[in-house]
Subunit: 189 residues, 2 copies
DNA sequence: TTGATTTTACTTATTAGTAAGTACATTTGC
DNA sequence: GCAAATGTACTTACTAATAAGTAAAATCAA
């Protein structure tokens, strides 16, 4: 696959999580890459097409990460930690996540893009849910509600944690990250 | 104060929490109100000016709510419930909150607007913190971390809860709301 | 008639998107 | 082995629409 195409996807994603979907233009991409506007349209005919491709790429990347962790025999604790590391890195880079960013603009997105966003979030929540449930059965985790509710609560904390940290202070995210663990780690360990 | 001005403020806020700050234009406001573009500029010379005014109005509204609850002798439990009711209503209306919406676009906002956003979030977090701490001292609440961390965690759940609920399913927010209470309500009550 | 409000009629900038052409490498027919 | 055709990766040069914003004139209300 083309290196230019890959670079556009990468830059597009970065622009979504720094300036928001409606806050960046093809000009931002082309000038940053030293190419012309039309070159971006050559690879991604429409902005919607680019957005959808970015989401598809992210879903794929997520599936690969899960597969990789399975192959490396990560336990549930390590799996959750790996997932949260993505958010810790985003916080360091002053970025929010695709979910939080596109969640804001959802009513301005095309159906295919909204669809892909839904698919991505669905997949993440489902994975979180099964990982939490499985970890609980091994006494790695301990929590009172259903695994799905716990999954939603953790994801909420991460998604908005990045947003709040960007408004207030980067260091606030570390405390949020910390308190997620405190909530689900068994007391007697 | 002018009724047109008030209506613009109201509509502007609604547009921010439905389409995002960079997803709406003065045209959206003027056509919805049946007036001309320039009439909106008469009250709010620039979009930044409108945005800043919306935030100032919201800070003021928040202060009035606090004052009102104090006058009505609301205990900490009732105060927190009142605050969360705002989010429950937003969820019913398929809206997110100003914090989540403007948090996405923060890097595209002018300094005065970013400043006002910061002030608003700061005020909310501080109020949440003192309310949680005060409620804990009366044994109305029970939690392990610092009051500030608990405040950040609750606010995160609410902010991203609305975003996730809009992507996935409205009803998911109710569970998030529920699990916030379960986290801080003393077990023996 | 004075001041507040609103429209008319613009400007300037930026947006997504397109049509046509160019440079260059690869393949195909003979 | 070589010209001709084809495909890839762009650029040049646009269009049409929409954005924020403004100046001046018209309307309205006290």
């Amino acid at each position: 696959m083309s290196v230019t195409r890959e670079k556009i996807l990468e830059l597009g994603e970065e622009l979504i999580v720094t300036k928001g979907y409606n806050g960046f233009s093809y000009q931002d991409i082309s000038t940053a890459m030293g190419i012309k506007n039309a070159a971006v349209h050559y690879y991604f005919p429409s902005k919607e097409n680019l957005g959808t491709s970015i989401l598809k790429t992210n879903i794929q990347r997520f599936e690969e990460m899960i597969e990789n962790m399975k192959n490396r025999d990560f336990d549930e604790h390590q799996q959750l930690e790996s997932f949260m590391k993505i958010y810790l890195k985003s916080n360091r880079d002053n970025k929010i996540c695709l979910i939080g960013s596109l969640g804001t603009d959802i009513n301005t997105l095309s159906d295919p893009m909204r669809n892909e966003l839904q698919k991505m979030v669905d997949r993440i929540v489902n994975w979180l849910e099964t990982t939490l449930e499985s970890g609980r059965s091994k006494s790695l985790f301990s929590f009172q509600t259903t695994a799905r509710d716990q999954a939603l609560r953790i994801l909420s904390s991460l998604v908005a944690g990045l947003q709040l940290a960007r408004i207030l202070n980067k260091s606030d995210f570390k405390n949020i990250h910390q308190s997620i663990w405190e909530e689900i780690i068994p007391k007697n360990s």
